[in-house]
Symmetry: C2
Subunit: 466 residues, 2 copies
């Protein structure tokens, strides 16, 4: 007879209780939330940095490859900017509306780690967050996960410093896994990029280094209600928390929901092929930017960075800069007392597998302003015109500042009714509960990064004493 070595497959209930407690505690043991702005400002003062736009010719180590026109680094590492040609046939058998476009895209095939370390203080789980500068952030300094490391980072392509706390996430000394899942990055800007989203409970003592602070989920929820404080990497990792389930019912059973997703994957016939950046139809390259000829969507630009608290002290790099402020929203309705959100099965050219579930609305309105009303994206006007008493959550957040410059969106949760958003929605949309999203998010490639931000925000609205 062997000794008992098995463990319970699922310890979610016990963990959920501890997460609920952390969400209810709005003052942590380390840093009062009221002191947080001063702390963050102080970290900004200690770590001097500046970002300047430069022409492509001013990039150091980056150049346009002769044959393809792709923007590449001489080391062959980091990422490249290439062209993408997308053909999408819709309809049950790919026989529906036909779309075709070209765009620049970032190719960065390596898998990075976005990791948040957790630890109990006074019986309450706290999460280790970092004040981190990224050149594309509109305010430069935001709150990031404990670890935000590309593979190049920790294999030393930068020839810079080690990644702090990385030993808690990889190797023999790592702690207890709370979540560990490959999630997609922006499918409109990245070609099949995913990162490892990890939450780990530390084993043993953890020294607190400069630029880091321990916060409860209640504190982080408070900060998620402020503009441009919690960065995208932190938001996506937080969305992967196995928060307590609130209901056992839903408009669609889990089996029906999975079937709907499978059907949406099968009915879209998407062909995305990498092509040379040189001569990309509809796009033109100038000295300072690659831009769309109608000045829509986004630009590829270059910046020079001077910083003190990064792995290296100065560098230049390309960034993608969206044209205009985005609007990213879930419409929400309550059915039989249970809140639901309206997800959209979105095709983005860079997705690994055809579609992922996105927000109800995820658009930069300026890109559609030229269209007649009936060709404008579904539900966009409902969100843009929502009266203030329908808005359950609103904050401006920016996308990953290491790749995207001033990529800001208004993130919203908007109450809807049968007139705005019917019980039986149009094809490509479905009502799901937040519990179902939390259930799906244990697995990769179900929720896109914008839907994950909204799920983190939605969880934040029920934290603390709100």
């Amino acid at each position: 007879m062997l000794p008992l070595i098995l463990q319970p497959r699922d310890s979610a209930t016990q963990l959920a209780d501890r997460l609920a407690l952390s969400a209810a505690i709005t003052e942590g043991v380390h840093l009062p939330t009221t002191d947080f702005p001063d702390w963050l400002a102080e970290r900004g003062r200690v770590n001097a940095f500046r970002v300047d736009r430069i022409p492509f010719a001013g990039l150091d180590g980056w150049s346009f490859e002769e044959t393809t026109g792709n923007l590449v680094h001489r080391s062959g590492r980091f990422f490249t900017v290439e062209g993408l040609h997308v053909i999408e046939r819709d309809g049950p058998y790919g026989d529906g509306p036909y779309a075709e476009w070209h765009q620049p895209i970032i190719k960065q095939p390596e898998v990075g780690i976005l990791g948040i370390l957790a630890k109990e203080f006074d019986g309450v789980l706290h999460f280790l967050m970092q004040a981190k500068m990224e050149p594309g952030n509109p305010n430069l300094l935001q709150l990031s996960p404990t670890v935000q490391a590309t593979r190049s980072n920790y294999t030393k392509a930068h020839q810079g410093a080690d990644v702090k706390y990385i030993e808690h996430f990889v190797g023999p000394g790592r702690g207890r896994i709370i979540a560990d899942v490959l999630q997609s990055e922006h499918g409109s800007w990245f070609f099949r990029k995913s990162n490892r989203n990890m939450i780990v409970e530390a084993a043993g003592d953890v020294p607190l280094l400069d630029d880091f602070c321990w916060l409860t989920l209640g504190q982080i929820a408070e900060l998620l209600h402020r503009d441009n404080v919690v960065n995208m990497d932190a938001r996506t990792v937080l969305s992967c928390l196995p928060v307590p389930q609130r209901a056992t019912g839903a408009l669609h059973s889990d089996a029906e929901l999975l079937s709907w997703i499978t059907g949406e994957r099968a009915r879209h016939d998407v062909h995305a092929e990498r092509v040379p950046l040189a001569g990309l139809p509809g796009w033109r390259r100038g000295e300072m930017a690659i831009e769309h000829e109608a000045e829509r969507y986004f630009k590829v630009v270059a910046v020079a960075v001077q910083a003190g608290n990064r792995e290296v002290t100065s560098w230049t790099q390309p960034l993608f800069e969206p044209v205009g402020l985005g609007v990213t929203a879930f419409l929400t309705r309550v059915f039989d007392g249970i809140p639901h959100v309206l997800v959209h099965a979105r095709v983005e050219g860079g997705f690994l597998d055809t579609i992922e579930l996105g927000p109800t609305v995820q658009y930069t309105p300026g890109n559609y302003a030229h269209l007649p009303e009936k060709e404008r994206p579904l539900f966009l006007d409902t969100v843009l015109q929502a009266p203030v008493d329908r808005i359950r959550y609103e904050a401006v957040h920016s996308e990953e500042g290491g790749r995207f410059l001033n990529a800001e969106s208004r993130y919203l949760l908007v109450d809807a009714d049968e007139l705005d958003a019917p019980l039986d929605p149009p094809p490509g949309y479905a009502w799901v509960t937040p519990d179902q999203l939390t259930w799906l998010i244990r697995h990769g490639h179900y929720l896109n990064v914008q839907a994950r931000t909204l799920l983190a925000c939605l969880n934040a609205t029920t934290a603390g004493s709100r």
Copy 2:
């Protein structure tokens, strides 16, 4: 107050009881298992057919494209045979062993439907199976799902007959979803191919057509113990059944298991690029076959088919023909009374996302016979030399006969001990329970097609009075 419109998210328990009952019933209401061989033979007599090998020059509508040498159909549909160039870097940061190879591969980007229809007779779930000829099956006629349709099939590229029973799986009249998931096909032979695996409980009466029969799970389990009776498409769909869970414990919690899979995905750095079939290093094209210069792995060949019960009555097509009989096995061990199987995180060049969980052993031994002992695949000799009292299950099954010619493997479940397969296995291997596999299989791209066959076989060993 709205009327109550919600449903339980999870009705697995009730369904599991019904599946358990069907598995326990070894005689269905329609066709006694003892009469099955005669029924199948009769279907073979009614539907005359023959398959002949032909030179590539004898293919009708298929030819080698001038510039690429790819084997294509003039309609641009069905599939193409192209080249694949794979580079794999192993190790925690892609810094480990380095592998590189070229091979022909089938590109067929469309998503087909493999569907089994279920219906209760006398209170017991029966499943509608079809006697279906495929040119690559060694015995031509095997038992297939109710529906086995490529997108070309139901958009009429064949200009043939409608797909029978398809209305139960798509469109407004379809039944209750039991399973519906995109699962990968063979990653060594297909480039990123997946099919929709569906099990649907019919609403209302279902006429029984020629070539079809209703069987209980107990009957199907009996047939899964026979060689070359239940085809691959049926096996993969059956593996997706949400069979009753047997235990709440496992060597690794579900969170740890998902983390291990994520880690395996992240540590393998695989680059697979389609290249022209012409001039593919290591492969040579003759009049009758494209084959590897060492005569290993597989050949690309061509056949002419005459058949009566297919959508069209005669055609020619290419097929992949493996060199030699495969061996595909799970090593199994019981820990604390709970059976576990040893899964292998396998890299196959055609996988969508780097690795999927495969059997402990999945090899054609002849491909490795030339290697010194210590370079031979792990666990292969343990399976090949297993004494008969260690073999819990064994049958020869063939892979999809619409694409693969005589692609037979011995499928085995083999009891192991600490000497054969330690509690702490080598990197890339993990002990999981069958329950955990059933839990994972609701989602795509976790289990490869060979592991799914073995899961169906494993479930079959516990059915009936066995």
